[in-house]
Each structure stands twice: as structure tokens, then as C-alpha cells.
Amino acid sequence: MEEVRIGVYVCNCGTNIAKVVDCDAICASLSKMPNVAVARTYKYMCSTPGQEMIVEDIRKNNLNRVVVAACSPRMHERTFRKALQTAGINPYFFEMANIREQCSWVHENEETATAKAEALTRAAILRVAHHEPLENLYADMCPSTLVLGGGIAGLSAALELAESGHPVFLVEKTDRLGGNLARVDLTAPHLYSARDLLTDRIARVRANPYVQLMLESELKSLSGFVGNFTAIVGAAKKNGDPHKEHVLEVGSVVVCTGYKEFDAGRVTHFGYGKLPNVVTSFEFEKMLREGNIRTKEGRIPEYFAIVHCVGSRSRDFHGYCSRVCCMTALKYAHEIKSAIPNSYVSDLYIDMHAFGKGHEDFYRGSSEAKTLFLMYGKNEHPVIKRAQPGEESEMLIEVNEQLSGETIEIPADMVILMVGMEARSESGDVARLVNISQDKDGWYIESHPKLDPVATTTEGIFIAGTCAAPKDIPDTVAQARAAAARILGRIAKQKIEIDAVFAEVDEDLCSGCRVCNSLCPYSAVEFDEEKKRSRVNSALCKACGACVAACPSCAIKARHFTDRQIFAQIEGVLR
């Protein structure tokens, strides 16, 4: 084995590190460690001259390992790995010591901070000696995509892919396309008709030869890994033909399974189901679509009340905001006023969330149209009761109005409950099938909530629309098309790059005990029944290391996080 020659670089980060940590002292002390060939400090290690210094040192001094003591590896690990690559050595021969975020920025005492920084750097030096060269792997990319759900998200994703000339299997559980949007009349704030938004898309999907439409179907199983999934799609209904199963080879999956509305019956205090003219937003939407706003008794109501946040933003039901109800409520106010000009609309809200483009203007328009906006408290609730005979309205709503601080009584002939969105009850089954995670509310979890909102932690599985969280139409469409764009990029490349950091099983050491098998969240650990050995599918593995820690034979190795490397690090921080 070649001699280990380590270059150690301690960054001053301007004064961010150097003002507390004595970088020169660390350098001097660590340069005496075995295998350390070069040790330097520099003002900004991540700067171009800083990186060039490392590259030059690697070439001149035949360094084969590099340690940079600077900021968090979450910040600049990639930067320096690139520098190593430039210098012609494997990028994984690199280790970073975090002496800024977890040292100079959080400790004031120069002596202890310097001691800690030295320990962290020493640990990195000891660790890097055990690093191994790693190479990324590649797999083929199947250009077909499976889209689950035929709502606006599924339609948008399918169209984006199919119109680029790639096969799409669009699986919809019901017998028609359009999803929840097909139940809506007009859309806020532009008042486009939902019907118009959908018909064009549905027609294009139906006409596109690249789309294989599978209505009344659902995913039965999914195996394989990114670029190489095998999906089995069968009849959605239990009484469907179980033999009519299709085996599909797909490279990616877009999950667009949408939401279901909150069941207003769970909230007892609104009298939903008991008072005939307390209706949910979807029931009211139906009246709007039919152009027939009437009470159960057939009267045209004069007083309307819209109650926001039914089942949302509450302690007892869902803590989150469903995002679309505020604007939908304003839309109702608008539609009511235009349908029944002599009507009065009271809008009972907790907070008015009008964050989107044009939403604030829409809100303003509604208030100028004399919608009576009344604020009730979070975790309080308006009480709806039947009015005494002879009152001007059928019902009275009692509410503790926040802005006036008064308990008030509002007349209402029809109460519209703005029911929020919730995850579909079967979303857990889908999550298990495609191996993605759900949050506590049942929404699918994205790979990164900010930077990677359409990917999931399972490579090749994307989420779009309201199956991930409540969303409005533009966000849903944007997400669906973003997912499609991600897939198109991969299809164009034809190859899938698999990260070099994953777990691998040493077949000689594995005894086939199968302790590791159930631990993998991505089902990457497979059991070879013939060889009686477990095996890690590197394309599926995300390098969490759960199986590695559990393997009682030390047969599974976590690449780049080996026991040996971590032991060295422990020794380093404690020496």
C-alpha cells in the first residue's frame, strides 16, 4: 500500500475562525502527526487561490489525502472534493473538520475553542487515513413513466412527458379524469371555470399516442430502483378482474394522488348533518355548478355565512392550513353576490391568508363588495343554532369576534363550511408501495422541503400536487411539470448516476441471519435465497447505515462511514 501523505489546511475564514481559534498553533501542532506531509493556514480556503493551493500541494508534494478544517461540510465538502478531483486524486480522499459553525461561532473562550478545533482536526486527520477511493455507479434509465392519479397534477405531468415524446402510463382509480378539480365551479382569484381548465387537458391526454390511460386501475406493486422499476397495475375495485394485471417497465414514478376533503361531520359544533342548511364547501360548489343556490326548503337564501378553517388550523383536527380555502371562500362571496345581489355574506375567518399572486386584490375586492369579515379565535369556534321563529334568518351564528372583542350573533340562512384538505386514507398504502415517507398528517415527504420539493427520498419517485401538502392549482401544476422536467432530464441523459456512498455486504462474512433485512427504509437490502446471503442494491441505498450498525457480523460496510473511519475519529477527538 502506498504511503499515506496528508495535507492539512486550516482556514481562517477571514476572522470568523481566526478570531477565536489559534489556527497557526493548530497547524504547528498537527503538522507533527504521523502521515501529515503539509499543514497550512489560509485566509479563505474555499476561495479560488485557496483551492489552487491545495491542488498545487497535491501535485507537488504527492499528497493523497486532504483535510480541510473550516466551515461545516454541509457547506463546502463538495467544493473541496472538486478540488481533489481537479488535482487528479479521488474526491473521497478528503475530510472536513467543522471548526466554524461548531467551534469558533459557538465558543468565546480562545483556549477551549482552539483545543476543540485541534481535536476535531486531529480526528479528521486520523479518519482520512482510512478513506478509500470511491466511484459513482451508473444504471440505465427507462424512458417510460408511471403517473399515479388523473387529477390536474397527473394530467399536467403526463402531458409534459408525453408531449416530449416519452411513454406515460396514467393510472386513475376512478372512471374519469379531472380529480377534485372536476368538482369545482370557478377558480379563485381569476374566476376561470375549472371545467375549461380541465377539458383541454383531458382531450390532449386522450389524444396523445404516448399516453396509455388506465382508468379504474391502481398500482399493485412496485419493485426495482430508479430507472428500472417494474410496476404491476391492476383493477382498482375489489370486484374488478384480478387477472387483468399489467406489468409495466418504468424509469420513474410521479405520485399525484391528491387529497380528500375533511369530513365536516367530525366537527360536532357546527351542526353539520343536523341543520339542513349547513353545507360543506364542496356541496356548495355543486350548487354553484348547477347554478341553483337554494336552501333545502327551496328558498333563495338572503343571509350567507362562510366559516373558514373547518378541520384546519385546530388543536383537535389538523394543525395545518389548507391554503386554498380563504380564496375559495372569497370566491363564494363573489359568486353569491353576483347570483343573488340582495344577499348578505358574512365571512368568519381566523386569519385571512391571501398570499398568492392577485389574492390580496381579490380579498380587497370582496371586502369592497360588502362581505362582512369577522374574525374568530384559533381553537375557538362559532356556534350555529336555529333561530327562533319570526327571526329574519333561519339560523344564528354566535361567535367571539376578535377584532371587536365582542360576542356577536350573525343571521344566516345558509352556512358554508370551508372544509380543509387531508391526506387520503389510502395514501399510506401508496407510500408503502412506492417506498416514500409520510409526515404525521399523512402527506408525502419531499426530499428537501425547500430545495427539492418534488423528489422524494426514494430515487425516481416524485410527488406532485396535493398528495404532498395542500396546494392551489398553480402550485400543483408547477410541481407536476417540475417533476416531469426532472424526469425528462434523466431520460435525456439515458443514465442514472448512483452516489458512491452506499452500504455493501461482504458475502464472505454474511451468514444470512437476515437481521438487516427489515431495517432498510428503501428495501435496498435484499435476501438471496439461493446463496443465503443478504445483498444491498446500491441504486436503492441511501447510505443511512441502519443495516451496518445492526449487522452482528460486521459484514455490511458503510462506504465512507466505515467502523474503522469512525473509530479513528473517536480516537482523534478524545486524544
Partner: protein, 150 residues
């Protein structure tokens, strides 16, 4: 000289390490006694790491992972929790005080929580005194850890 505890912290990459970074970017001060080792997930933490750290003279070991339900790897933190529960029993049998090994949930947004956990743990271990291996190590001329890694 007063006793300064040495604490080895094993932090998961996605939540707790990011949380500790956030404490840094927010300049939240905490004692310099914890030395952090990054692992991808709290589920990677082999109980051997904890024993090894103690044996090599750590006065305490802090394990931090994502909050239950928030794991980047879905349920890695539960695996850490299961091992932690059994590890506590085992360490107790070896006479290691319970406060020396601690499992905490720290999310990426909880820089403050991380600082509080470290501060609290440092104080508790300071009160407990050095671990027997630390004493042994400081008394012996030969560092103990060398015999462990081959």
C-alpha cells in the same frame, strides 16, 4: 484545574448536525466540551461507538437524531432509540451512570435546543465527575485506545 468533561456527540447529518450548524450561524454559545462526529443517520450509530468513546476517555456520549416521525430515512431514529434503550441497561450493568449517555432529538431548526442540550449535559457530567476510563487513562502512561484498534 477544574474538571472539563469530554463529550463525544454523534449527530445525524440531516437534522441534528444541521441543527448544530444553525446554532453556529445563529451564534448561540454553548460549552466547548462536545466534539461532534457526523453520521448520516442516528441509526448508523453502532453501540460499539458509544462503548469505544467511553473506553477512550469520553465522560459522556451524546446521540442526536431527528425527531420521531421526521427522520430523513423515515424511521432511522426509532432504530437508534431501540438500541439506546438496550444500551442503557447494559451500561448500567457495567456501572456507567445513566447521564453519561444521552439520546436527544434535535431538528435542523433547533439550534437553540442543541445548545441547551449540550449545556445541560456538560453541567450534569461536570457534577458527575470524570469517567473511570478517563481517570484510568490519565493515570496510565500508555493510552488505552491503542489496544482496541488493531
Amino acid at each position: 484545574m477544574s474538571f472539563e468533561p469530554k463529550i463525544v456527540g454523534f449527530l445525524c447529518n440531516w437534522c441534528s448536525y444541521a441543527g448544530a450548524d444553525l446554532a453556529g450561524t445563529s451564534r448561540i454559545q454553548y460549552p466547548a466540551n462536545v466534539r461532534v462526529i457526523r453520521v448520516m443517520c442516528s441509526a448508523r450509530i453502532d453501540p460499539t461507538f458509544v462503548l469505544k468513546a467511553l473506553r477512550d476517555g469520553a465522560d459522556g456520549v451524546l446521540i442526536c437524531g431527528c425527531h420521531p416521525g421526521d427522520c430523513h430515512y423515515t424511521e432511522g431514529n426509532y432504530k437508534a432509540l431501540r438500541r439506546y434503550e438496550l444500551l442503557k441497561q447494559t451500561l448500567c450493568a457495567f456501572g456507567i451512570e445513566e447521564a453519561r449517555v444521552r439520546l436527544e432529538w434535535v431538528s435542523a431548526s433547533e439550534g437553540q435546543v442543541f445548545a441547551e442540550v449540550v449545556t445541560d449535559m456538560t453541567e450534569k457530567i461536570r457534577a458527575l465527575g470524570p469517567s473511570r476510563f478517563r481517570v484510568e487513562q490519565e493515570n496510565a502512561s500508555q493510552p488505552v485506545h491503542q489496544e482496541v484498534t488493531k
